[in-house]
Symmetry: C2
Subunit: 233 residues, 2 copies
């Protein structure tokens, strides 16, 4: 289990710790949120292949044995979406990433729940059989489900540059982590989903995407490439 | 498509409308949140069996064609969790259902995302094959997954009366809608999960559970009972 400080030399918050694995989109969403706010916290790399998320210390922090795990003094949060909204609500006064009015926030919350309830389960259904069960391809039903997700997201981007509206919010950061990962397994068809593919291209240029998502995404991509036949677009 | 006012004679908010189907746990969560806050809004019953959620009017409101759909003047929200947090943030000043400080809110958000990402997909995996695909039993993998959910929830209730702490919050309301529904398909083992079964007994006595959850739960229970062999505890 290795320990490291943040990737950027931002505002130091030594009282906060994030236990994470770069390969996990959920962890990368939190890392991007941190870098987007220029917050530097203690980060601990967990090797899931070695079962480091199942040590007694980790189970005491999070009995559900999932990553990421975040701690701010006595507060422990174990869901990536709740960690992102906590960080933005607690440490980003401007409301840039998470609107402070209930109406604006509800739009971001809605996107985050779409990520929780639809995108993440579809990511797991496609990736876990390859990573954990010796399957060497993305199954047809999973390809169809991921395509359905792209169709939903294309629809959400109608007349919008970013999911939240005029600038990138937590909606975009959270979707960037999962959609960039799905795109490795089922490449986005640019003809069919022009708004989604432009958005992914645009967000891939954001500094926080480069500093906090790219390395883990490459790691995931390499791992999946070794284990499965993936059709490249 | 029928129109109705709220079940309780609470504070009238005619500028808000909820399109819902009582059988859906997601809709019942919003209905309980409304009754818990004593808010009376316009409610429209949608018959999903007749495809009323797929009319052009409904697709214009919610291209994803899911229920519930909520509208407050120009704001449209289509995720039950985001609707509940919006209502509590906008219309419940006390912070009783949804703490106003980022730390307290993060605990509720975490529970809501557990409901989105784990409980609801497991509910759908167990119920949809019965309701939509002529399957007449809950499949073994789905029973095991639901049992795993009960185990997680039992763990979350360690040293707690309610999921949020000392009183019922949106965590309890949202879990009440899904857990009471799962309990129809896979009855909670009282010996194995004493805290969870006591909690369900306790919340079933709350007025909002009686006014807003019970009717739809009975409707779901009757429907599932007609279609499948369900083992009763």
């Amino acid at each position: 289990m290795g320990s490291a400080t943040s990737r950027l030399s931002g505002t130091g918050m030594e009282h906060c710790t994030l236990w994470k694995a770069d390969r996990s989109p959920a962890c990368r969403a939190v890392m991007m949120a941190l870098d987007s706010m220029n917050l530097s916290i203690t980060e601990v790399d967990i090797n899931m292949d070695k079962g480091e998320h199942r040590t007694q210390e980790m189970i005491n922090l999070n009995p559900l044995q999932t990553l990421p795990v975040f701690k701010d003094r006595e507060l422990v949060i174990c869901d990536s979406h709740a960690i992102c909204t906590y960080l933005a609500g607690r440490y980003c006064d401007s409301g840039r990433l998470l609107p402070q009015d209930p109406g604006g926030r509800s739009i971001v919350d809605q996107h985050l729940h779409y990520n929780s309830s639809i995108i993440y389960p579809r990511f797991k259904a496609a990736a876990y059989p390859i990573i954990y069960e010796s399957c060497n391809f993305v199954m047809p039903q999973q390809i169809a489900d991921i395509d359905g997700t792209y169709s939903d997201l294309e629809c959400m981007l109608y007349k919008r540059t970013w999911f939240g509206g005029s600038w990138a919010t937590l909606s975009d950061i959270v979707f960037a982590s999962t959609v960039s990962t799905l795109n490795v397994m089922v490449p986005i068809d640019k003809e069919k989903y022009p708004r989604l593919s432009s958005w992914l291209y645009r967000i891939s240029d954001e500094l926080y995407f480069v500093t906090a998502n790219r390395k883990g995404l490459c790691e995931f991509s390499r791992r999946i490439g070794e284990l499965a036949q993936i059709q490249q677009s």
